[in-house]
Amino acid sequence: MLEKIKSFVVLPPTVSEVEQKYVDRINKIVVIFFALHVPVFMGVAALCGTGVLKAFLLTSACLVGPVLAWKGLPSRKAALVNGFAAMCFGGLLVHFGQGPMQIEMHFYFFVLLGLLAVYGNPMVIVVAAVTVATHHLLIYFLLPSSVFNYEASIWVVLVHALFVVLQSPAAAWIARSFFDNVIGLELIVQARTQALDQRNEDMRLILDNCGQGFVTLDAQGNMSAERSPAVDAWMGHAPAGTPFSALLAEHNPDAGAWFELAWESIMDGFMLLELCISQLPSKVQLGERAVQITYTPLLDDKEQLTGMLVVLTDVTAAMAQAAAEESQLELMAVFGHLVNDRSGFLSFVEEADLIMGRIEDPNCNRVELLRQLHTLKGSGSLFGLSKLTARCHEAETQMIDDGTLSPAARKGIVESWASFQQDLQQLMAQSNTSAVELSQSEYSDTLKAAEQGAPHQELVQRMQSWLLEPTDRRLERLAQQAQRISGRLGKDLEVHFEGNGLRLEPHAWRSFWNTMVHALRNAADHGTDQSGVLRLVTALEGSSFVLSLSDNGPGVNWEQVRQKAREMGLPSETQADLQEALFADGLSTREFATETSGRGVGMSSLKEATVSLGGRIEIESVPQQGTTMRFIFPHTAMHGQGADRAAA
């Protein structure tokens, strides 16, 4: 309790500059105020007949203390002297104001106590109160007891002092409040500023040592002065108030324009804030650095946007690592294909090389280019070349949206292919030898025929056929690809294949097999439901070689085909018209294209490859039972004959 009272009455030892100036000024005013008491008290003495000279002498004597203190004491100490002197001036007024008004003169004590509160120092009030109490009690001790009747007068003395003492706590409380909230405000601000500075220092330490860029934007998208060093290091220093879009545009004009546009939609306030923020650029290239940007809105109490915290993260290394991992996975996939189906994979590579030549050709027309891209995308996807597939998909999208392929996109595909070839060459460096693949059964059958004395011509024909490619291998590969596609689509597809021991000339059929993947993707994507059966069969039917692909899905929606054909201005009256339309460029029953299907390009490529081998396509589709596509070729096409003719 005493400690509390003490800490209340006694001010903190530190005197701020503001307090120093304030108390000095008050001391000066108080001395002037006290000096004015001299003539006033002389006037009062003259009116009351209590001695003008005496008033002059005593009032001047009382003024000596404040003047000395003002000139010679520290400001707070001088204030205490003035507290003491004030009560003495009060006493003098009561004395010189004797007469009918003497009681009223006592009010001056209370006025002075109130005035002393302007010091903002409770101790001044305490000194004044103690002065009054002491000078009243002194009477009791100083005057001779033989003269006075103490029992009668001491109570009067005490009551006199008591009222002054009673007022003092209130005046002291006012003084302390004045100190704490007005004079001491500087100290409060200083303490809070120090705390803030400390926090800022801590935050700065964190910002300086974190690898991310932090900056806040105001509601207009302008940058604040406070930001982490990474922002300046990556984007260059920009003064506070610079639009973030402008700084972004210095490094990446597209990103700058993108940001500006999206920020305008934020300021318009028509769309949901979250939606607008999602439209801001989230990954940009700043020179050699890939930077991911995240945005956190700063909202006021009314959920109005006041600013945005922007966090920049350097993801160059992460992206490089992801790309390296992707390349590694691709390489592993390539290695797997080389081990399991070397000739098939190399066949794809040769075909892709040819396609790449077409893509690089600036004279290649739009339809042709779109077909080549689509075929390359499909084949690349089946062989796990995700980067190439992604580039092809982007190029396709660009062609469909813009009607043309930009040189940059074209270059991207070529570079992606060159990079793949480089990896492939390293992988094949030790095994770049031509080989003839022979199954165990073929070898056994041939050996048995030779041992049994089979005719020389038959043996020659058998051995010549070894250079042809077994359809089993291609069908098996297609089956695996179909299952991969269905797995990617989340479907459970059962795939059967039958090669029936047939072989085909590999080079002539390479293009067909590559485009066959489009039919397979269509079947897996929308030719089957969540689970289904796919059957691939090669067979000889009379003088024809037939490859059939059947599924047990919902069947072709001919009405939809008809509608799309009409929209495209294609004949759609007969079933034959509809079948023809199904293979037309750009016809797709899908609303949106995916990496799997939907461009309306693949089937036209397949038809072209079929026709180039002298073949034709038949479709049988029964609603809710399935669809069978039959690719029918003359027998001679199996050895590559007729391909030239068709091509011609």
Partner: protein, 200 residues
């Protein structure tokens, strides 16, 4: 931090060290003059009773006698004198004014109002009446018995001077307690005690 007191110039500290207690004592003495009562003689004092008898004249026989002791240099006494000459005085009462010191105007006005003025000095008052302070009221009944010896008011310089009321009560045989004596020391010994610095 504020500079400590000890670092202030020595002469300032010494001067203030003298100034403050002195001022405190001066104020205390000034206050005492307003709050503390002054001594009055005992009613049974034989010298006082003898002095009372000597001021009664032949024509005062059978009357109440009011003796007003006033000090010419005392503000309180002057206030009482003004009151006496301007107020309606009771009939059938012999009123005497013992004026200590010189104040011709006061004496003339009192005489004109029917007061018998008896001039004396502080020493005479002390020796003859055994009185040391004024203003003092003495009321004596027709049998020369002192019925009242005290002040005029219950507070210092109060406007309500109660001499007539006290006299009236006593004439109705009611006892009246003596009021405190607020005023001035007349004798030098009392002046030294009450106002050693001559400030009053």
């Amino acid at each position: 931090m504020d500079a400590p007191f000890s670092k202030s110039p020595a002469w300032v500290r010494i001067s203030l060290g003298i100034w403050a207690p002195m001022l405190l004592v001066v104020c205390a003495f000034l206050l005492s003059s307003h709050l503390l009562t002054l001594p009055s003689p005992e009613v049974e004092d034989p010298a006082l009773q003898a002095a009372v008898v000597t001021v009664r004249k032949q024509e005062d026989t059978g009357k109440w006698m009011a003796i007003h002791v006033l000090y010419a240099d005392c503000k309180c006494s002057q206030g009482v004198a003004k009151y006496l000459v301007s107020s309606e005085r009771p009939e059938g009462v012999a009123e005497k004014l013992i004026l200590v010191g010189e104040d011709a105007a006061m004496a003339e006005q009192a005489a004109a109002m029917g007061f018998e003025v008896i001039q004396t000095t502080p020493e005479g008052l002390s020796e003859d009446w055994h009185m040391q302070a004024a203003p003092l009221l003495v009321l004596v009944d027709p049998a020369n018995q002192l019925q009242y010896l005290g002040g005029y008011t219950d507070r210092k310089q109060a406007a309500d001077i109660r001499d007539v009321a006290i006299l009236s009560s006593l004439q109705q045989t009611k006892s009246v307690p003596a009021l405190p004596l607020f005023g001035c020391a007349v004798s030098q010994s009392l002046q030294r005690a009450v106002d050693p610095f001559g400030l009053r």
